[in-house]
Each structure stands twice: as C-alpha cells, then as structure tokens.
Amino acid sequence: MATYATTAVVTPRPRYRVLEDERWLAMALLLPTIVLLAMFIAYPFVKGILLSVTNTRVGVPGEFVGLANFYKIWNDSIFRSAVYNTFVYTGVTTVFKLGLGLWLALLLNRNFRGKTFTRAFILLPFIIPTVLSTFAWKWMFDPTFSVLNWMFWKLGLISSRINWLGDPDLAMLSVIIVNIWRGVPFFAISLLAGLQTINPDLHEAAAIDGAPPLKRFIYITWPLLLPVTMVVVLFSVIQTFADFQLVYVLTEGGPANSTHLFATYAYNLGIRTGLLSEGAAISLAMFPVLFLVVIFQLLYIRRVETR
C-alpha cells in the first residue's frame, strides 16, 4: 500500500522570482499611479490646507493666521451668495438632468432606424470641449444678436429683448440651461444602459398582470434603475458643484456677482486678485459638502446592494 519512494527525494530551492510574488508585482504595478497621485493630488491638498490657514499672497509668503481666512470669507457677502448659487445651481440642474435624461433614455430604449446614429450624436454636447460649446451658447444669448430672442419674438412670446446674461436674475437661469444641456446626454446614455439591463420579461409579466405603463415604471423600472441612477447622480453632483468653465465663459460670475460659484470666486480672488490664501480657503470650503455627498451615496449604494 503506502510505500514511500525509496529513491532520493529532491526538494528544490526555487529560483526566487520577485515578480512572481503577488505582493511585489502589485507594488510595482501600482507604483507609478501612487507616485503621480501623491505628488499632484495628496500634496497639493495638504498644501491647500496650509495655504488656507496663512495669509499668503502672490509673491508674498504669509504667516499662520489660523481660521481667519474662513471667518473672512464667511462674512463676505459675495462668498455667501456663491454658496447659495452653487447649491441652487447643483440642485436645479441635477433634477432636470435626471428628469430629462430619464425621458430621453426611455425614448431611446426602443428599436428604431438610425438608433445608433442618434445615440452617437446625442453625446456630442458631452464630448465637445465645454468652453467651445459654451461660447456657442454665449453667442446665442447675446442680447442684440440672439437667435433665441428672434425665435421667441417670432412666436409672439416677447416684444422686447431678453437680456439672458446681463440681467442678474436671468443670468442664473441661462447658466442652468447650459449646464442641463451639457449634462442630459450623460444621464441619458447611462440610464439607457441601466434600462437595458432590466429583463424585458418583467415588463411583459406586469403588463399581463394588468399594470398600466405608469405603474410599471414606478414599481418595476425605477427600483431596478436606482443603483445606476445613484452612481450617475453622484458623479454629476460632484462635477456640477465644482464647476468652473461654464460660468467663467458665460458670465465670469457676474453680472454683479450673481452667478458666482465656489470655483469662479476662488479663481477671482486667488488668481486674479492674488489673494492666494483666501482663494484656497474658498476652494477648500467645497470639500465638506462633497465629502458628505459621497458618504451618503456610498451608504445608500451599500444598502441597496445588500437588500
């Protein structure tokens, strides 16, 4: 039965190939990423915190001033309105982007001729560099030459010009419109992908069971779409909250500081005016909100997944 081999048993000493070891290979593969991210994200982040607690200006190193900058910006009415603007901007655009994006996704979920082309074209607002397409909108908004004014005039809706970007009340609306325009494709295509993972048998079963389209949507489609929706909303909220390009091109924060966001005001104060520390403080003020948003989303996703 069990007679062990009588010839010599060889126990080889294996050639130690470093890269065979999972841990060394993983380190080697991750090294470039870690270095880049450490140098250009972690380090600036820390430096940003340091900047915000000193009173540095361009060319003038500063001394530690504790939270003075934060007090200063909190008492700055422009900053306060920027905070308010950013929340309004983010909230309103996200709601509309979600609603319109969902509608468009539902439309695209059918099979029709030219579907592939349509899908490709629809993404253009998202693909084309924001600055460039925003200029097109700025031109469309120009009070004297606006094609939108012409259209509304021809439709009999207005008799005098709409000063899209010059009127403090309308400017926010205009900025919001352009952001929605840019974001709808992203929402639509992502939600479309989510819709396509929903088994069509579910809809058919529900239809046979007697559920009308709206009920089918509420009870079947929407819950199954929720994970994708939350991820998309997460991405979008972060990007929108920290948005810069759109407002910079359209209004530079005006007129009369009515469209400033965190980012544009930080740019104005930090780079334009050279008050680096205060600019840094404004930028950093975004962080708590972003952090909370992320935590909230992650918890929600975890809860959905474990259900």
Binding site: E20, T33, F45, L51, L104, I128, F145, F186, Q245, M286
Partner: protein, 283 residues
C-alpha cells in the same frame, strides 16, 4: 415593445425625440453657420427685418482665415493634441496596471488603496488648482506642456483604473491559471493573455480619457501664460476677446475647428466610448 396607434407613436415618441435632438444639436449648428457667415450678416440685430438665422447665402472663409492668420490657432491645436495624447497614454498605462493589480492580485492594503484611488476622483480640479499652481511653479514646470501632461492623469487615472477593474473582473481567472500552468510567469500571463482580451476595455478607457483631456480648462488656464503654449480652450478665450469686444466670427470658427478633432476621434470609437461610460456607471 407594447404597440399602440400610429398617432400615439408620433406624439409620444417621434416628436419628443426630435425636440431633444434639436435641443442638443442646435448650438453646434449655430456654431457652424456662424463660422461661415460674413460679418455683415452676422451683426444683424435679431429684430431686424432681414435676420435670417438658419441659413446664409454668402458663405465665407474669412473667419477661418482670420483665425489662422491673426492667432496661432494651429499651434494651439497641436499643443492640445499633443498633451491629450501623451496624458492619455500615461493614464492608460497607469490605469491598466493599477486596475489589474487591484482586481486580480491579493496583497495587503488592497482595499485601502482601491478606496484611496476612488477618493481622489472626488477631489475636483477646482479644489486643487491654487496650491497646484504654486507647486508647478516650484518644480519649474510653469508654462510648459509638462505642467499639464503630469497633472491631467490625476483625474484620468482613477477613472481608467475603475473602468479597467470592471473589465478585468469579467475575465475568468482560469485563463490566467492556465497560462501560468502552461509556463508563463505572472507578468507574461498579464501581457500575453489578459491584456489582449481586455482590449475593448482599454479602448474605452482611452477614448474617454482622450475626450476628457481636451475638455480641461482651469489647469491650462492657470498653469500656462505664453500664447504659444496654450491649448485650444484657453487660447480661444484669451486671444479672441479684446477687452469687451468679442470677435464672434473667428471665435465660432475656433470653437468649430477646436471641436472637430475630438469629434472625429470620438466617431471612430463611439461604441467603445459608450461602453466605457456605461461600464463605469454600472460599477
């Protein structure tokens, strides 16, 4: 699909779809038509009697000529293309390696590192640009393309990593095990087996990174100052606007021509772009 009457189809489907398409694509049409419209027609108030918005009978090249003659638009195009390509390649390499390591290798701190990389994606450029400006200056990278080539990957890599992780996870581990039994080291198994199978994912990540690179503005705005280093978005903003005067013709020409390279590259990889977008969202 559940069928209905023909008019229902038109009202509920075709009309909204067409409206959406008009809404989404009209600005590009406007961009295009402004580029070719002569100044005389361009600067007509909207309530003038001869305002013809949707077509022009006198197309002209004048604006495009102006663009290339009076500004160094060609240089900006080249800069942007160069920076975008190199950044994309760096990000792809880093993202593919990192994605592979995080999804297929076991090592301590794997979870922590993965979360760390994910978290950096949430630190937007507008939060970092002020201290980064200082750092760039300290490293003597200010006003060179390298300032951008090294900083763009900071937001491209997390995305590429995440995307590649999804693709790698879908590759059955038996393929790798078989390769290792066949005689390939881990490294060779990755190069010869895993990467070729993950090519669709790599293309998706690449095209997404490429389009994102073209879209960067604030870093380019803050780190570059001399006109010949500028990228298209920055150049168009700074050189085609003199004080309060907007040269709309050349501006739109710049916007149009600046959009075309991205759109062309995108058109070759639409499927990959879409699957990259949706892949990242489905996690």
């Amino acid at each position: 699909m559940i069928e209905g009457a023909l008019w229902r189809k038109w009202v509920y489907f075709y009309v909204p779809l067409i409206l959406f398409l008009i809404f989404l694509l009209f600005p590009f049409y406007w961009m295009m038509i402004t580029t070719f419209r002569p100044d005389g027609e361009l600067y007509r108030p909207w309530n003038a009697w001869n305002y013809t918005p949707f077509w022009t009978w006198n197309p002209t090249w004048a604006h495009i000529e102006y663009l290339f003659r009076e500004t160094i638009f060609g240089t900006w195009l080249w800069n942007t293309m160069f920076i975008a390509t190199i950044s994309t390649m760096i990000s792809l390499v880093c993202g593919v390696f990192a994605g592979y390591a995080l999804s297929r290798l076991k090592f301590p701190f794997a979870g922590g590192l993965g979360t760390g990389i994910f978290v950096t994606y949430l630190v937007p450029q507008t939060l970092l640009f002020i201290p980064l400006a200082d750092i760039i200056r300290d490293y003597r990278l200010g006003d060179t393309p390298w300032a951008l080539i090294l900083t763009y990957p900071t937001f491209l890599i997390p995305f590429c990593t995440w995307l590649m992780m999804g693709y790698f996870k879908a590759i059955p581990k038996e393929l790798e095990e078989c390769a290792r039994i066949d005689g390939a080291s881990r490294w060779k198994a990755m190069i010869y087996i895993i990467l070729p199978v993950a090519v669709p994912g790599i293309l998706s990540a690449g095209i997404f990174a490429f389009t994102l690179s073209w879209n960067v503005f604030i870093y380019a705005l803050v780190f570059l100052s001399s006109p010949q280093e500028k990228t298209v978005p920055v150049g168009v903003v700074s050189e085609l606007i003199r004080g309060d005067v907007f040269f709309w013709g050349p501006l739109m020409a710049g916007a149009l021509l600046g959009s075309i390279p991205v759109a062309v590259v995108y058109s070759f990889f639409v499927e990959h772009y879409v699957s990259g977008l949706t892949g990242s969202v489905k996690g």
